[in-house]
Assembly symmetry: D2
Homo-oligomer: 90 residues x 4
């Protein structure tokens, strides 16, 4: 993994952890449901963007050599990628 990307992801995840704590505080103090749902949507979006960064890295580095191979290695990687696409899509 590119060290700059890794550092960016870690920073991103620390901020997300703080946001999740913030959501718990909103729930604890009975804030308006719609505001909490909005905040949850923002955190889900942030997590999605970390997943996209990892997916880019995965395609660029891990997947590339398996895709270059023929036969089973490529087929397994295609299955894994489709599985990841399905997970990211949800």
């Amino acid at each position: 993994v590119d060290p700059a990307l890794k550092e960016a992801n870690l920073r991103h995840l620390r901020r997300i952890e703080g946001q999740v704590r913030g959501i718990a505080a909103m729930v604890g103090s009975d804030r308006y449901c719609a505001d909490i749902i909005t905040q949850i949507a923002a955190v889900r979006e942030s997590l999605h963007s970390v997943a996209r960064n990892l997916m880019r890295n995965h395609l660029q580095h891990c997947a590339a050599s398996a895709m270059a191979a023929e036969g089973e290695a490529r087929r397994d990687m295609v299955d894994e990628l489709l599985d990841l696409v399905g997970k990211i899509a949800r």
Copy 2:
């Protein structure tokens, strides 16, 4: 908000906070991208389920009286609900 639901949401969010820390640890120790993406998808799913619980509470309690009204109050609530549906859908 129903106290039992509130407690369940808080427990859920504490677990999610721990999972986010776990994802950061996975990134920090260069774990396989596909495994990290899978874990991120699980946390997004957990957040989605908290959002759904809040949406149920919102519809059952906050939205109901506005929906019962005629005219602008109802229209505003419908706009808010559609906005929330869009946020949850992402």
Copy 3:
């Protein structure tokens, strides 16, 4: 249902039907996969927007009276709405 909204939805659906035929023609003439996937995404987005129009109408008209009621009628409507939110979210 508001007649103008109904007419707009029917127009929208006729265009979508034509787009689906267009996608079949793309598949039939072996067009580049990425272009076909892009076109499928556009049609899914159009269908989503028809569903949102119907959801607005549903909330504004059908759901409002059930939400105004207390007890089981409201609970059933909340369940139905959450079910629809889940379907739209997918």
Copy 4:
């Protein structure tokens, strides 16, 4: 493209075209909004599955050689794949 997959996709798309016509008929005869939304969700799901089939084919055939290359060709393909993942995710 594998001829069997192409035939399956064409069959699938013809059925989807019929389903879209069916939804228009439901709208035309003022059927219950929730039933129409459910039907729209089913068609969107069917389109998603055609897109997944095409994505599998794309990864297996078109993407593989670009991924095997180094430098710009691979980078462009990774960008295209990420773009497609984003489109499928919506």
